[in-house]
Symmetry: C2
Subunit: 243 residues, 2 copies
Amino acid sequence: MAQNIYDNDQFFAGYATLARSQKGLEGAAEWPTLQTLLPPMQGLRVVDLGCGYGWFCRWAREQGAAAVLGLDLSEKMLAHAAQTTADPAITYRRADLEHLTLPRAAFDLAYSSLALHYLENLAPLLATLHRALVPGGAFVFSVEHPLYTAPSSPAFTTTPEGRRTWPLDRYLEEGPRTTNWFAPGVVKQHRTIATYVTALLAAGFTLTALDEWGPSPEQVAATPAWAGERDRPPFLLAAARRS
Amino acid sequence: MAQNIYDNDQFFAGYATLARSQKGLEGAAEWPTLQTLLPPMQGLRVVDLGCGYGWFCRWAREQGAAAVLGLDLSEKMLAHAAQTTADPAITYRRADLEHLTLPRAAFDLAYSSLALHYLENLAPLLATLHRALVPGGAFVFSVEHPLYTAPSSPAFTTTPEGRRTWPLDRYLEEGPRTTNWFAPGVVKQHRTIATYVTALLAAGFTLTALDEWGPSPEQVAATPAWAGERDRPPFLLAAARRS
């Protein structure tokens, strides 16, 4: 079972300060790209894996989704989502994604933003999603980029020549990585791009898109602090179709 | 057009010293994995893109391939391949892979080992391959891993704490990288994993396998000098099917 760090008071308070927490989807720099991977939402039955505050669930309904099921491990997140949602077609439910059950062929779209890198095992969830999606259904997700999770010391360094570099090591050593991010001892699971893709294919999905997201040169010009994100992309986005 | 570095005398002489040059496929550490991505060769019509000394062409015939076309830009490589091949079902031909023409639906398998990272543009070749393969035909290839090609200074460094790291930068900055490898001024084209995958999908291929190859822990135990290859994998392997 994944660590339930979002119910840690210190973490929850820190996470609440992020632009993506305060502004929702528009506060997430990768959202415009992730959005291009999504099918038209009109009439879709949607499940959101790791729904957090419920920003995506509400957006999906605004775009015409028929019904949305938001799942999260965090009681704090679910409570906040419920308080800010007034829509009988959105259901929030507490769930451990590694031991999830869903009805068969009940969804047209499965979506997950920055949640799967908390899971120790992807295969059970992917098998569940494959059964829960209708044939032709889509699975669209983002995770922290494996280059972000891999290193022993995940912080940019400067070489003696003054060059900013990302000190990569342990890329092929998959497994837990513990960092201090809003709270000490946050555990994420590092896996390679190939492992994500192979897991999708093994579960019977067809890969339809893969994106190693970083800010555009124009975004870096507007926000110079993002420059390093082009040296080491922060997010991996993918879309797959249930065959 | 890709740089024809293999016809440089100094480069050719240096490349000839590699285990993969002297021992062939068995001298290439990634070959056992690449081999698992290949279909059974019996009866197949095969094209090898960047055939070099012709090791794979001869292996394919030994495994029962019906006919093999080996393509390379290097006259030196082709001359060496021809000298060491006595098989009327193997044809070697000089070709610039960025301006390749092949007959329609004439091949069951396209194969390429460590050649595509020399090409400035992948799309024309992928379109050619899609037309040249029969429906259901396979495309299996390896390239230098994008983590290998990306950095400004592609060499392991040691941190003040004594940790070996790969100084990653410029991962999202695609384009030429010039290094000194057997000869000064060797030009390779850096592109991301997502760009390789997206190009395949855009050309109409279905991705069937992706592998970020590095030596196994057992191989590192046998050859300790390879340890860094698990920090930063050297090769990207992929298999796709013509839809």
